[in-house]
Amino acid sequence: MQTLRRLNLHPGWWLVLPFLLVVMGMFLGPILNILWLSVTLPEPGLDNYAALFESEPLRRMLWTTLRICLITTVMSVILGYSIAYAMMHASGANRNWMISLLLVTFWISVLVRTFSWLMLLGRNGPVNNALMGAGLVSEPVEFMRNELGVLIGMVHYMIPYAVLPILASMQNIDNRVIAASRNLGAGGAQTFWRIYLPLTRPGIVAGAILVFILSLGFFVTPAILGGGRVLMVAEYISVQVLITLRWGTAAMLAVLLLGGVLALMFILSRLIPLSQVFGGARR
């Protein structure tokens, strides 16, 4: 205690210490080890990174990942905006129902949801039966083992994450600004496109970044609904580690993924307080 006083360390640090040590030792330490592996395995050097430019399958996988994440982000933000807008303009009881429904989805296991999509989207599943019954298609649509199924599953998972930041930015809008626009003669549509939408831009950007970050590392849904044909970076890493045992490549991809996620997270933290992002969310 004497030395601590001399160091002028706040006694509160004793309470922080246990968790800090656990995170340092069990989490950050091994992650730094992975960074190190990416430049030392199988032999020291930047060979693993050079493969990014040389290996065709690797480039194709990264392109697939980026493409799916971008489409997921755009879809989730557009649909999430619609939900957030309706929530803002709903009456008390309706609004509570909408919020409850949204929050419930955060709690439902990704495994259960992916399983459900597997049931729904099969060749003889209810979705295809309904489409055929309605005469919209003449033979079953292939939803699975392709990007379409992965996108449906991912957008379904990500929409709630887009809603929360957008909702927060809508709550920050001063209603008098909208009223002023209407008083100055702008119509409803004009007010929306020229005043309301620009005012919610921070929420849109934050929601988009958050969805993109979560999509980049997504494992369960692409692995199951893609059926091995839609290879995204997380599944690729797991194959390298668990099956082909190429730790060098896996570590290099992990470094890319982590670097991308942390850079985006940093930008996100400049836009909105991170506590708001995690406020209603679980993961």
Binding site: H10, G12, V16, M26, I34, R113, W117, A254
Partner: protein
């Protein structure tokens, strides 16, 4: 002002979207009631045979027990670590404390696949692969940041003068924490514990990396079932997983409501 056509259209669209978010997740329920031997939607006839198989199967039952033991232990550990840490950071309240807080939230931000690699690297030399201890530690690391967040939110509404008053009246740090701080942040602690429990209860990616033969949690057995894609017992297990999640969700909703009634705060 009467809402225009586009607003009304959007309201309808939003309800459809919310249904799209919730309903597909419930498909496991009808599928689990199919009378047939393979995964299918029931047509007219229902049967509970797959639940019978589920509850009669030693393999599935041991998975339940393992998941429950791991989730409860991990949630307990995460709650202790996260709560202590939140109180400490709250008392320090400096720039350094905020930097450390950001660092400690990293397990939430890092993609699960990278966490899985990290635990794998660590557990192989330590001999913690495929063990209860390893699973509990790993899941506690993933859950504790959530406790940190919920407890910090509760502490934000706690008046530091109460702590000073307790200290001035002669209570020790420990007594102050137990008798003054903890009772007033209990809703945050309980909410954090629930989050940590569900995090472990549903966790699959890290589990796939750090288990082999002896640890077979419910999500892991479901993962195998889904990959094989034949046995309707998987659907029955999904329903049970879903039911536990919904019960925990309801507890959380009730807690939130009670906390708001006790301590009304503008959101």
């Amino acid at each position: 002002m009467k809402p225009g056509f586009s607003t009304r259209f959007n309201r309808f669209a939003a309800w459809v979207l919310l249904m799209f978010l919730v309903l597909p997740a419930l498909v496991a329920i009808p599928v689990s009631l199919t009378p047939r031997r393979f995964l299918s939607m029931p047509q007219g006839e229902y049967s509970l045979r797959h639940f019978e198989t589920l509850f009669g199967s030693p393999a599935w039952m041991s998975s339940f027990a393992q998941s429950a033991v791991i989730a409860v232990s991990a949630a307990f550990l995460a709650t202790v670590l996260g709560t202590l840490c939140a109180i400490g950071l709250w008392r320090i309240a400096s720039r350094a404390a905020e930097a450390i807080r950001a660092l400690l939230l990293l397990p939430l931000v890092v993609p699960p696949i990278i966490s899985a690699m990290a635990f794998y690297r660590l557990f192989v030399p330590l001999g913690l692969m495929d063990s209860y201890a390893g699973m509990i530690l790993a899941h506690a690391v993933l859950g504790a940041p959530l406790v940190l967040i919920t407890v910090s939110a509760s502490l934000a509404g706690f008046d530091p003068k109460l702590e000073q008053a307790s200290r001035n009246l002669g209570a020790s740090t420990f007594t102050t924490m137990r008798r003054v701080i903890l009772p007033s942040i209990r809703p945050g602690v309980l909410a954090g514990a629930l989050f940590a429990f569900i995090t472990s209860w549903d966790e699959i990616v890290v589990t796939l990396f750090i288990t082999r033969f002896s640890i077979y949690t419910l999500p892991r057995r479901m993962w195998n079932g889904i990959r094989e894609n034949t046995d309707p017992t998987t659907a029955a297990a999904a329903v049970v997983l879903l039911a536990v999640t919904l019960v925990v969700f309801l507890i959380w909703v009730l807690l939130q409501r009670r906390a708001r009634a006790l301590n009304p705060q503008p959101e």
